[in-house]
């Protein structure tokens, strides 16, 4: 064994790097072990065809918390900022929206949209404070700080004013479909907002709780979307640099086999190649299920806790599509200069819900919905000169496909997706020189996320705040001495936000100070 470390961080995902960086900044001796050969977890840029690179999982930046940027003094270049959204319509009457403004709809819808976004961003701001804090403990032995924190939340909700508070309480558990149908007439607008609320989840727009997931999307930057130069890997590289600058060591290609338990305490880790590292603290950026069921093993923690972890819902439902194109496709009604924007194919809210229906029964959507970007349009480093990359999230593709994921079923869904895109981009098919489809199982394998769910656990009210990932473990410390969770499975959840990593580091340091 090595000389004693203060902390080992399992996984150099963005949260792991944020956590490692903050712990190292506080003078802790930190080692980060990453299974893959590059840092970043699901926020990486990697080649997928000769000369073509893409942000392999997360592909847009909209949730990175300002606090994280500030704390770490992060510096990376943006290839584009404040990207707009173009919701494609089958009849070419596309809807474009950015911030609180929308065009291509009736005037009534435009007014409603302003009001809707204004209210949603206000609620998102309310949540933001709590996203960047350890959630209060509700148990009998809750501390004074916990109770104050909780009281503060109640007070903040009350301070919205009577009408807005009622609206907040009415909406927070509700589905977004009802709200959209009540407000808007325009199909593509309702469809695009439905997609925004359900991206990366096992939820349809009519599932309860999709207002919450929509708010969650707005928390970082009010929904303003940006794209880092060099892809999402650039963010991770900047985080890794920050961690190294603060003195942390990062070793890649080091998959962790198990967390070493000594006398009922996490005492370090053993890697697949048999190396053992002893450490005072072990901080897992892996998802909660992998952390407890694979690395710790159920027998080393108490029953009840393992039951809750076992029952954690983390079924990924989004596939990732990468196309190498020898040129930009034609999209009727869209000018070439607009190809830097984000495109959505979700012509109506019902269309999204119908796409989700199939997923409930373990089938892929017959008519999937898409979030599409052409990152090479704004970033020439990603494709050879004159050529382009398309990166798209395709829903729904359930992790537990009834027919099972195989080369055959993957190819079938890839063909289906390209066919569906062809309805809007007639010349797409002949422009494809290479393609890659990552199913949730592929995402699970490549990024080591149970269920291939990028939130490490469904982002629903029963797995939120005080109960994220599960009750009794929502304050980053796991019920095994010396073990902490710092990834998306912990509060507040997934997305490239860094909040979980930052909160975890702060919780660890605070606990050590108190001890």
């Amino acid at each position: 064994m090595n000389e004693r470390l203060d902390a080992i961080v399992i996984g150099a995902g963005h949260n792991g790097l944020v956590c490692a960086s903050l712990l190292a900044r506080a003078g802790r001796k930190v080692l980060v072990l990453e299974a893959n050969d590059q840092v970043g977890g699901a926020a990486v840029t990697r080649p997928f065809a000769d000369g073509y690179s893409v942000s392999a999982c997360a592909h847009l930046l909209y949730q990175l918390q300002p606090q994280v940027r500030k704390d770490l003094g992060l510096k990376f270049e943006l290839a584009a900022d404040k990207l707009g959204t173009i919701a494609l319509a089958p009849d070419g009457q596309h809807v474009r929206y950015n911030g609180n403004d929308v065009s291509g709809t009736s005037d009534g819808d435009a007014v409603e949209f302003k009001d809707f976004q204004r209210r949603m961003t206000r609620f998102a701001d309310l949540l933001r404070t709590y996203m960047n804090r350890t959630p209060p403990r509700l148990a009998k032995d809750a501390s004074k700080a916990d109770m104050l924190n909780l009281a503060q939340f109640g007070f903040d909700v009350r301070r919205l004013g009577k009408v807005e508070m009622q609206e907040f309480l009415r909406l927070i558990g509700m589905n977004i479909y009802d709200e959209l149908v009540e407000r808007f007439d325009n199909g593509p607008l309702k469809g695009a907002l439905s997609l925004d609320a359900t991206l990366g989840t096992h939820l349809g727009p009519r599932s309860p709780n999709t207002i919450l997931t929509y708010l969650y999307r707005l928390v970082g930057s009010h929904g303003a979307i940006s794209a880092p130069a060099g892809g999402m890997g650039a963010v991770s590289d900047a985080l890794a640099q920050s961690a190294r600058n603060h003195g942390a060591t990062i070793r890649t290609g080091m998959p962790v086999k198990r967390i070493i338990i000594e006398n009922g305490r996490a005492a370090g880790v053993e890697t697949e190649n048999g190396e053992k590292f002893s450490s005072r603290l072990t901080v897992s950026n892996a998802d909660p299920k992998s952390t407890i069921m694979k690395l710790v093993l159920a027998r080393n923690v108490e029953a009840g806790f393992t039951r809750r972890i076992h029952n954690l819902r983390s079924r990924g439902n989004a596939a990732k599509l990468h196309l190498a194109l020898d040129g930009l496709p034609d999209i009727g009604g869209v000018e070439k200069r607009e190809f830097g924007e984000r495109f959505v194919i979700a012509p109506d809210a019902d269309y999204v819900e119908r796409a989700f229906n199939a997923a409930k029964y373990g089938e892929t959507s017959a008519r999937p919905v898409f979030e599409i970007t052409f990152p090479s349009f704004r970033d020439s480093t990603l494709a050879p000169a004159g050529k382009h990359v398309m990166s798209a999230i395709v829903q729904y593709a359930p992790h537990r496909l009834a027919a099972g994921w195989s080369d055959g079923t993957r190819q079938a869904f890839l063909d289906l997706a390209i066919g569906a895109l062809g309805e809007y981009m007639p010349d797409l098919k002949q422009r494809i020189s290479a393609s890659e489809l990552l199913t949730p199982v592929d995402i699970e394998d490549e990024f080591h996320i149970t269920g291939g769910h990028w939130h490490h656990g469904e982002l629903t009210l029963d797995q939120f705040l005080f109960t994220r990932p599960v009750g009794g473990a929502a304050q980053y410390a796991m019920p095994l001495d010396g073990l902490y969770l710092c990834g998306a499975g912990a509060h507040p959840g997934g997305g490239v936000s860094g909040a979980a990593g930052r909160n975890a580091a702060r919780a660890i340091l605070k606990r050590e100070k108190a001890a």
Partner: protein, 399 residues
């Protein structure tokens, strides 16, 4: 014409039912986990004295029995219960409690280490949901064998002689909490030196299809040793004398309580000796360590009460600064014929109820419709009320 297959409804009958029905003079039965179980067959006092003076036979079949096997069975059981199961070798039986994550007792029971890696867990309540939850992530099989295994408690000073006459030799070497196997009419008959009476006694376990044959052979062997079938009422008196607690009477299983503070930790049930903090992990450990640090709320007490009026469901008081303050309540009470004592098991708030403490029990009793009340003094005692040397003597004597 289509025939509709009959679906069993109502109470289940124990495999000993036919024999018990023949002896039954009272027709007083109650429900025990789906089975009909007799309150008594002749007379509670008569049956009680067969436990203390000769041999009693109690039908244990409704007792929950789980067979636990698989590569992780020891790890599974060791994490389930609070005591160290690594010390329980094959051929031994352990009394144990299991807790939830809050360190509150879900139930107590006996765990039989049948052979290497194979266990039988017996308890009053059913626990499949909890056992399955505890088995997540482990390679272990849990099978409810309650209906397949018939069981009899054969208890009393002459029980050893009865089993000897049944043809079970080498039984004299069987120590308390030991188990051994015999062949009986071509099936395996397991005998353990365990029981709920605090006396010399055994429990017999065998496949249900041989239940009646065993009953007949046992009663034939016991004819000259005063053998008698008993019901729950007589057993209840003897288990209070032995100082054993019963689920649903002296504590509520933690998984059925709703109100906070209504479940009990092992410390609060006088079972601290069962909690082994040397084990690095078991369910409830973190909460129990915390409770040990902070102190418990409740304490289980055995009480020796003045007078002869059983203190059923009475409040318990303590004198504090000259005034009597209510500190707890009685959960089990009886007049003990063999000890000639008015005894009870109760729950009091800490710090009350230390051994030797003087408490007061408020007993209400009715004489010809009119109620009377006494405040009887009560002393907290440490040892079981009834604990004869023959309970542990190996070999046991032929009484």
């Amino acid at each position: 014409m289509t025939t509709i297959q009959e679906v069993p409804q109502g109470r289940l009958k124990s495999p000993f039912f036919s024999r018990q029905a023949e002896l039954d003079r009272l027709n007083r039965w109650h429900e025990w986990k789906g089975y009909s179980s007799a309150d008594g067959f002749y007379d509670t006092a008569l049956e009680y004295f067969s436990i203390r003076n000769s041999t009693s036979v109690f039908d244990l079949t409704p007792m929950t029995k789980y067979r636990i096997t698989g590569p992780d069975s020891l790890d599974f059981i060791d994490r389930l219960v609070t005591r160290d199961m690594r010390k329980i070798r094959p051929g031994r039986v352990a009394y144990a409690v299991w807790c939830n994550e809050d360190g509150k007792v879900i139930d107590d029971g006996t765990i039989f280490h049948l052979q290497e890696g194979e266990y039988r867990l017996c308890s009053q309540e059913r626990h499949m949901a909890w056992l399955r939850a505890s088995a997540i992530g482990m390679d272990v099989s849990i099978v409810d064998e309650t209906p397949e295994i018939a069981a009899l408690a054969v208890q009393g000073p002459t029980s050893y002689s009865v089993l000897k006459d049944l043809g079970l030799d080498v039984i004299e070497n069987l120590k308390p909490f030991g188990l051994t196997n015999f062949e009986f009419e071509g099936v395996d008959l397991m005998v353990s030196r365990t029981g709920f009476t605090g006396d010399l006694g055994y429990e017999l376990w065998l496949p249900a299809e041989k239940a009646e044959a065993l009953w007949d052979a046992l009663f034939a062997a016991g004819k000259d040793h005063g053998i008698m079938a008993i019901g729950t009422s007589a057993l209840e008196e003897s288990r209070i004398e032995a100082g054993y607690i019963a689920a649903d009477i002296d504590f509520l299983p933690a998984d059925v309580t709703v109100r906070p503070g209504r479940s009990r930790s092992p410390f609060e049930l006088g079972l601290e000796w069962l909690v082994d903090f040397k084990k690095p992990n078991f369910t409830g450990r973190r909460a129990l360590a915390e409770e040990k640090r902070r102190g418990s709320t409740w304490r289980l007490v055995k009480l020796d009460i003045e007078g002869n009026k059983p203190a059923h469901h009475s409040y318990i008081y303590a004198k504090s600064s000259g005034r009597q303050k209510e500190v707890g309540f009685i959960t089990s009470a009886t007049w003990s014929p063999v000890c000639k004592q008015n005894i009870a098991i109760g729950t009091v708030r800490t710090p009350h109820g230390r051994v030797g403490d003087k408490l007061y029990v408020e007993i209400y009793y009715q004489l010809e419709m009119h109620w009377s009340r006494v405040m009887a003094g009560a002393t907290v005692v440490d040892k079981p009320f009834w604990n004869p040397p023959r309970r542990r003597a190996t070999p046991p004597g032929p009484f």
